[in-house]
Symmetry: C2
Subunit: 144 residues, 2 copies
DNA sequence: AAAATAAATGCAACTCTGTTGCAAGAATTT
DNA sequence: AAATTCTTGCAACAGAGTTGCATTTATTTT
């Protein structure tokens, strides 16, 4: 199928050997919009990969710039697909992360530009992380 | 001393009994500007309070609106003093958090207003967290 | 100020998350 | 298809955070 082909392509382009767990985990990210926690992946990947394998796979993907981590208020780690600008060792995740407090899904709002923060004199910013809590489109729609 | 008196006042105002660990931990926050991690408190509190006590104290302070947590990129929990607007069960921490990548201190920039984030149609925001990474005033000053 | 009550502390044990070393098993290369 | 390289799973471990319970400390009541 098309998705599987895409997965293979993506792995090879990043000089990663194509294995069952990598393919499966990567396709999970490609199949859905939101961010995934380690626990989500452990469940959704179906029959059990070892916890360690999942950790190592995620770590590898982060290093290669395929996915990135999202800081959350409750201090769990979330992972989401990077867009094409990300390369090995250098992430460009200057976008807004949105966490829905109703369905507790997290997603990246790539269309939104991160607003300028006016820092006090003497501070220099290198990266700005914006995490918005609220209600997402889907949950608001269901209210009507 | 004045600080100790302030500590007692603050605890009583929040209907908390005045104990050694609470006083000590609260005065740690009052004595310095930056945010503190659990580990910092364990070290700086001097002779050993139990880990559990520190956890429970921090939890209590958060519930009472005395301190609040800060999400960080490396997913460790940081705590910082709340300003007066915070009350029990309701935090107003709509301010910018700044993490210095040189001295790795974290502090709250209370003077800075959180910029408006223009969300896509259909999203509703209830809280916006902004975490800025960069170099703080002190570290920049030392470069000259 | 002392006794009674209520709350906080410390300890032990446990769970959950994440990491490391190493042998066995897969994917690549030749 | 064999040799090499890389990945996986297991076991064991480290750290962070939580819970129950007995003891100690703070607060209230008399």
């Amino acid at each position: 199928m098309a998705v599987n082909y895409h997965v293979q392509e993506l792995l090879k382009r990043n000089q990663l050997s194509v294995t069952e767990s990598r393919s499966k985990i990567l396709s999970l990210f490609l199949q859905q919009e939101g961010a995934l926690a380690h626990a989500d992946i452990e469940k959704k990947s179906g029959v059990g990969f070892d916890r360690v394998t999942i950790y190592r796979t995620l770590q590898t993907f982060v290093e290669k710039g395929i996915i990135h981590t999202i800081p959350t208020a409750d201090n769990t780690v979330l992972y989401a697909l990077c867009k094409d600008e990300c390369t090995e060792g250098h992430h460009h995740d200057q976008h807004v992360h949105f966490i829905c407090s109703q369905c507790s899904s997290t997603r990246c709002l790539d269309d939104i530009t991160v607003p300028d923060v006016k820092l006090p004199a003497g501070y220099r910013a290198t990266q700005v992380e914006v995490v918005v809590n609220g209600i997402c489109r889907e949950c608001l729609g269901e209210e009507n």
